[in-house]
């Protein structure tokens, strides 16, 4: 008999996330992977600033709360201090692709042996729905009330595509969690990102296209559909870099 249980790597603290938010699903996927790989005792998680700021209360492994955008630098320190630790960061789009872009790019360029879980929901959730570096052209937010005007504030950044131009990173994949098949694919990617670190392969980043029904002003169901209709056309899913696979092919 299979009994549905909470992964051991999650604490019993109830999530504070809004109804329909996909952070809960992604937390669970990360925790399931930590359980399956048997690495909870040596894993250190780095929480960001943003909606998932309190992730340190939700994961059972040792946790560090970083300054806004600095999680990859903090992770670099932790990993260099104790290379036998498994170190992951969990960051949103404002944290990773705006204020922390330098830390993101340079940790990828160094092929720092860490795992980055990047939540892209095209909006700043915690502060109440402002324009993110990944907000879509025309997207209405609190700070783009007439829709994102690309002439005034530029175009959204495709992180996986941008990082894929670097020699450094080992693995870059974009997934989403808006359906059961997609959740299964996302888990596979997250697992690979942790497995790569265990094998010493280096920097792996999984971008998870996520929903924010509250700040998008939609029902949870409409938000999941909006991912298919609007987000994925701009942010196509798939593997953007897999250096080990490239090496295999070259052989």
């Amino acid at each position: 008999m299979v009994v549905f249980q909470k992964p051991h790597a999650l604490t019993d603290a109830p999530f504070h996330y809004c109804p329909g938010c996909t952070h809960g699903i992604i937390h669970r996927l990360v925790a399931e992977v930590i359980d399956e790989l048997g690495i909870e005792g040596k894993t250190i998680g780095i929480a960001p600033v943003g909606c998932s700021v309190m992730a340190y209360n939700y994961f059972n492994c040792d946790m560090i709360e970083a300054a806004h955008g600095r999680a990859p630098a903090v992770a670099t320190g932790v990993k260099r201090a104790n290379p036998e630790n498994i170190v992951f960061t969990y960051q949103g789009d404002g944290d990773l692709a705006s204020i922390g872009m330098a830390e993101t790019v340079h940790s990828a360029a160094r092929n720092e042996n860490i795992t980055v879980i990047f939540i892209n929901n095209a909006i700043y959730g915690m502060t109440g729905g402002q324009m993110a570096p990944t907000s879509l052209p025309g997207q209405v937010t609190q700070t783009s009330p007439y829709g994102r005007d690309v002439k005034a504030c530029g175009y959204p950044i495709r992180v996986c595509e941008m990082l894929s131009e670097l020699e450094g990173p080992e693995y870059l994949e974009r997934v989403t969690v808006n359906s059961v098949p997609n959740i299964r694919k996302a888990k596979k990617a997250i697992r690979k990102a942790f497995q790569n670190q265990i094998e010493g392969k280096g920097f792996s980043l999984i971008e998870v296209i996520s929903s924010c029904p509250t700040n998008w002003g939609m029902t949870p169901q409409a938000a999941l559909k909006w991912i298919d209709d609007k987000m994925i056309p701009y942010y196509p899913l798939g593997v953007y870099k897999d250096r080990s696979a490239q090496k295999e092919e070259a052989k």
Partner: protein, 354 residues
């Protein structure tokens, strides 16, 4: 007497840090402290340590935050404009009660300023530099030997009290060469760090390194607890040197290179019949209040000699409770007061001028 080696002040800091057990250094090039990074780049790979040139000062201080979270001795170094960038990290280190050593080899400011020696980051160092209620232990060396000794002391105090220590040097201290007795350095064993995030090993509840407390009652409690620790530091760790103060009528206050210049001026003043003496704060925070309070009972006047527009002078006035006039003798922007300028100030104060 142990063997002495001729070293630059910056190199002495780097070597002393390694001897203190620091195996992780993160930095970003900036004059006039880059010798520290260069020394670490050469040495660390050979002793199994980490030297990493970070992408920015901000990244470097956050790498420090990571290593400190893991419970190891760690440092970064920079000069004034770079230390401003580290301000965010310094506040987070304070908020998470993490020990670390930060070196500021000061240059003239504000802005990009210049690259010549300065003491104009005194306020930034002793009043915080980042946001929120916090302090760092601030150590002010006045010789290359002290650069080494205070580096070791900085690591020890940081671990003992769980806060950041800062070496507040200046371009002169960093660049000048003097003989150093490195073998005289003694290093206390590192205390246990049960709070460190090294992995639960599935044997204990998870550790969390954090500075976010959304409940104001809780955040207030941590602030009060931290200030109880600061009170202990103020009671136990204030350090200073007194020079010819016993019968002094004029008290010079100076730290770092300004103290060395002042000693020459004091000797000359005494030759000319004016009894001058020096109080040299070695810790700028905690500021050594007691010797100034004592001196205020028997001196006519105090002079704060500084490489700034007058910053330490506020602490001299507070510590002496304004019982005697306190004047400023200064140069700024990378200039250093000459012994003659300090002598003139001493003679002027003795005559009752200001």
């Amino acid at each position: 007497m142990s063997e002495k080696v001729l070293m630059k002040g910056n190199e002495a800091i780097a070597e002393a840090a390694i001897r203190a057990g620091c195996r992780h250094y993160f930095g970003y090039p900036i004059t006039p402290q880059t010798e520290i990074a260069a020394y670490m780049a050469k040495k660390m790979p050979k002793i199994g340590g980490t030297f990493l040139q970070a992408e920015s000062e901000i990244a470097a201080i956050n790498m420090v935050y990571g290593v400190s979270s893991a419970g190891l001795r760690v440092m970064t170094s920079s000069s004034s404009p770079g230390v401003s960038l580290k301000g965010e990290g310094l506040s987070y280190l304070a908020g998470a009660d993490l020990p670390a050593l930060i070196v500021n080899v000061q240059r003239g400011g504000p802005g990009l300023g210049g690259i010549q020696p300065s003491q104009s980051d005194y306020f930034q160092a002793t009043r915080g530099g980042g946001h929120g209620d916090y302090h760092m232990i601030v150590l002010a060396p006045a010789s290359v030997q002290e650069m080494a000794e205070l580096t070791v002391k900085g690591f020890e105090l940081a671990d003992q009290y769980r806060l950041t220590s800062m070496i507040l040097a200046d371009g002169t201290m960093g660049q000048m060469m003097e003989p150093v007795a490195l073998d005289d350095l003694t290093v206390a064993p590192m205390p246990e760090k049960p709070w460190a995030t090294t992995g639960t090993g599935m044997k204990r509840p998870h550790n969390i390194v954090n500075s976010l407390f959304l409940q104001p009652e809780e955040l207030e409690k941590f602030n009060f607890e931290r200030y109880e620790r600061y009170a202990k530091i103020e009671a136990n760790e204030a350090r200073f040197e007194e020079y010819r103060m016993d019968d002094a009528e004029i008290c010079v206050a100076a730290f770092g290179i300004a103290a060395r210049v002042s000693k020459n001026a004091i000797d000359e003043a005494r030759k000319q019949g004016v009894k001058a003496g020096l109080i040299r704060p070695i810790t700028l925070w905690p500021f050594p209040k007691a010797p100034f309070r004592r001196a205020a009972e028997h001196v006519k006047a105090m002079i704060s000699v500084e490489l700034s527009m007058g910053q330490m002078i506020e602490d001299v006035r507070l510590a002496s409770e304004c019982r005697v006039p306190v004047s400023l003798c200064n140069r700024a922007g990378g200039m250093i007061p000459s012994p003659d300028q300090v002598l003139e100030a001493i003679l002027g104060a003795a005559k009752g001028g200001n």
